[in-house]
Amino acid sequence: MIDRINVGAGVFFVLAGLVFLLDGIEVIAVGTAWLWPLLLIALGTALVLAGRGRRDS
């Protein structure tokens, strides 16, 4: 049985890490205006998914 929360969080962390990494080595420039709202949305999504996972189990 695959744990969707593990996979979802893992994919998000890999993508976020790659974006920040590319910003760190100055391949892309990540703006700061959208950063915190996006993080809040991601956190909210994780909490909703976690809640659904608990309800399903």
């Binding site: 695959i2 744990d3 593990n6 996979v7 893992g10 890999v14 890490g17 994780a46």
Partner: protein, 206 residues
């Protein structure tokens, strides 16, 4: 009458995996910090933190068939916030305390510190025209000491933390302050200052 079979307790692989991942990350971070202290390499937190985040993500995907990795997910959330702060503050330039005293008239651009305290003492600066100053700190404190009678314009921002510019204050997420002295635009000699910190405090005093 036979006793009902009790299911064998499942191995607590989740906790151990999170612990191992955290341990490995701490060892790597400590080693990098040590090498930075010994001047063997320069730590760039805006690369190190996202790299750690990618590793945590890969471990989570690889552990799809194991128990919920709550510890690893929490670690990933912390690393995401730190990476975002590092990106906002453009962390680089090492770790520790640094004090820069400026007495000439040259601009002072792109001063960077990864983690720690950076103090720019501009009280003795002697500009012959408009002078630009810019500095960034990832995590810690950024303090600027201004000369008494030189017109200045200051833009200061903080990802998470507090900004204080000549008595004005702002705090929380995405704090930002702009200040311009009277007569700045028409002054023959002036200071134009850009300051940024990821997590921490920016202070500008006279």
């Amino acid at each position: 009458m036979s006793e009902p079979e009790t299911p064998a307790p499942e191995p607590r692989s989740g906790a151990s995996l999170a612990g191992i991942a955290l341990g490995v990350l701490l060892i790597v971070a400590g080693g990098a910090w040590l090498l930075d202290t010994l001047d063997v390499v320069e730590i760039s937190f805006d690369v190190l933190l996202p790299a750690a985040l990618v590793v945590v993500g890969v471990i989570l995907i690889a552990s799809a068939r194991r128990h919920r990795q709550g510890g690893l997910i929490a670690l990933g959330v912390v690393l995401t916030v730190l990476s975002a702060a590092a990106s906002a503050g453009d962390v680089g330039g090492g770790v520790g305390q640094r004090r820069i005293e400026v007495t000439g008239s040259e601009p002072l651009r792109d001063q960077k510190l990864g983690v720690g305290q950076l103090v720019l003492d501009l009280s003795g600066i002697a500009p012959t025209g408009p002078v630009e100053v810019s500095a960034e700190v990832g995590i810690g404190e950024l303090r600027v000491e201004l000369p008494e009678d030189l017109p200045v314009r200051v833009h200061a921002e903080s990802g998470i933390g507090q900004v204080e510019v000549l008595g004005e204050q702002d705090g929380g997420f995405g704090s930002e302050l702009d200040h311009a002295d009277n007569g700045f635009d028409s002054a023959a000699t002036s200071l134009d200052i850009e300051l940024s910190i990821g997590i921490g405090e920016v202070t500008v005093v006279r």
